[in-house]
């Protein structure tokens, strides 16, 4: 290095002065962006709602439960007595399909299952994590309709998840069940509407049936 030479004197160009306010803004905007992205992207409304797997048989609730008006409990016959809602065994489909649409290619997996005794591999739609213990009978017998948690299944060609099924969703209703209650014999009527104001009607039902949903952790986690 030679004497007199200027060493390492770099002069920032004048325009870099703009960067200081820009950097200040970025320090606020970027974290805010990350927070919004996570809150919005990882929220159960984004990740859980709208799950619609392809089923092995193009079975339509809109046809069977909607147009033909078959009650949910004809197929899901354990909802009132058990924690789980039974998916119908192949025999239940064959009650009718042994005589109706006997040659339909859409029903081929059903006939195969009937002949071999192997179950139809239905794909689960609603699926809580294994550390949650849900119970259908506790809800259905107390007058919480299928529609409150599963939506208008009777208009669905393919079953789709329409609610979050997150802990916040369960607790929203457990803390304030009134607008979601109905007489227990109406639970499978998908188009039932309360007579009058849902809030006051629900309050009457809640009092009459002594409904007190628990919010204790051990109700759902064991």
């Amino acid at each position: 290095m030679m004497r007199g030479e200027q060493v390492g004197s770099f002069v920032f160009p004048r325009w870099t002065n703009v960067l200081r306010p820009v950097l200040a803004v970025a320090l606020v905007v970027v974290p805010a962006y990350v927070v919004v992205l996570l809150a919005y992207g990882a929220s159960p409304r984004t990740t859980n709602v709208g799950y619609q797997p392809v089923q092995p048989v193009p079975y339509s609730h809109a046809l069977h439960a909607g147009q033909l008006g078959i009650d949910c409990r004809y197929c899901h016959n354990t909802v009132e007595v058990a924690a789980h809602a039974a998916l119908p065994p192949t025999q239940t489909c064959m009650n009718c399909h042994a005589r109706i649409r006997t040659t339909s290619p859409k029903l081929l997996p059903v006939r195969e299952s009937y002949a071999t005794g192997l179950p139809i591999p239905w794909v689960r739609v609603h699926d809580l994590p294994d550390y949650v213990y849900f119970n259908h009978s506790a809800h259905v017998r107390r007058g919480v309709g299928c529609v409150e948690c599963h939506g208008r299944v009777d208009t669905m060609e393919v079953v789709t998840q329409v609610h979050r099924l997150s802990m916040g969703w369960c607790l929203d209703c457990h803390r304030h069940p009134e607008p979601h209650l109905r007489p227990p014999d109406m639970v499978t009527k998908m188009d039932w509407v309360p007579p009058g104001d849902p809030e006051t009607y629900g309050r009457q039902l809640r009092q009459a049936n002594n409904i007190n949903p628990s919010t204790q952790c051990w109700t759902c986690h064991r």
């Binding site: 984004t46 990740t47 709208g50 109706i100």
Partner: protein, 213 residues
């Protein structure tokens, strides 16, 4: 200020909108892919829940069906009148359960669930499934019987119970779907339907008969 830097910043801002747009799209469309759990916790435990698959068994069922030829504890049904509608002397003629208002209401509810799709709400064999099957004209369908014929009216209650449990001719068995207590409730309701469609003036209490005219 160099142009490149400005373009870069604009590009970055535009790119930053893409994830948001994707999320917005995910919220309004359906998807066949199961949800992604960012934090697994113990959401998937190596245990078998009802109706889950178990690769250990050839048929893949975690819920094991009954072994043929065995009887579970407490499941030995010796009372033939109640469990089969039949005694060694033949079909049961009188209800082996008390026919109460409650039983009748239960029967109505269960009838509407399990029988009405084919037999119709009033039992004339004109349920929505029967109508649809008739309209299809496939030639494989037998119309469900009307309950309001002398033949079915004279069937013993035990015979109707057995019809539900094991089916009859072209009618499938409903035993696997309906518990025994509910089957008796349905029989009671079928009897009530038959009475309702076969009512005569003499069924009305004498003091009310005059009002009929």
């Amino acid at each position: 200020m160099p142009r490149g830097l400005i373009y870069g910043a604009v590009l970055l801002a535009a790119l930053a909108l893409i994830p948001l747009a994707l999320i917005a799209r995910a919220r309004v469309t359906t998807s066949g892919v199961p949800r992604i759990q960012l934090i697994q916790d113990m959401g998937r435990q190596p245990k078998f829940k009802t109706q889950s698959a178990n690769p250990m068994f050839a048929d893949g069922r975690a819920m094991r069906p009954e072994v043929p030829g065995t009887v579970a504890r407490g499941e030995l049904h010796e009372d033939g009148a109640y469990w089969a509608g039949r005694t060694p002397d033949g079909w049961v003629m009188a209800f082996p359960v008390a026919v109460t208002d409650q039983l009748m209401r239960r029967g109505q509810e269960r009838y509407d669930i399990f029988c009405a799709p084919c037999h119709g709400l009033a039992g004339y064999g004109d349920g929505p499934v029967a109508k649809r099957a008739d309209a299809l004209q496939e030639g494989t369908w037998t119309p469900p019987s009307s309950y309001h014929t002398d033949l079915v009216r004279q069937r013993p209650v035990g015979f109707i119970f057995n019809t539900i449990s094991n089916g009859i001719r072209n009618m499938p068995a409903y035993g696997p779907q309906i518990p025994v207590a509910d089957r008796w409730a349905i029989v009671a309701y079928v009897r009530a339907l038959q009475r309702s469609q076969d009512a005569r003036a003499t069924n009305v209490p004498p003091e009310l008969q005059r009002q009929l005219r």
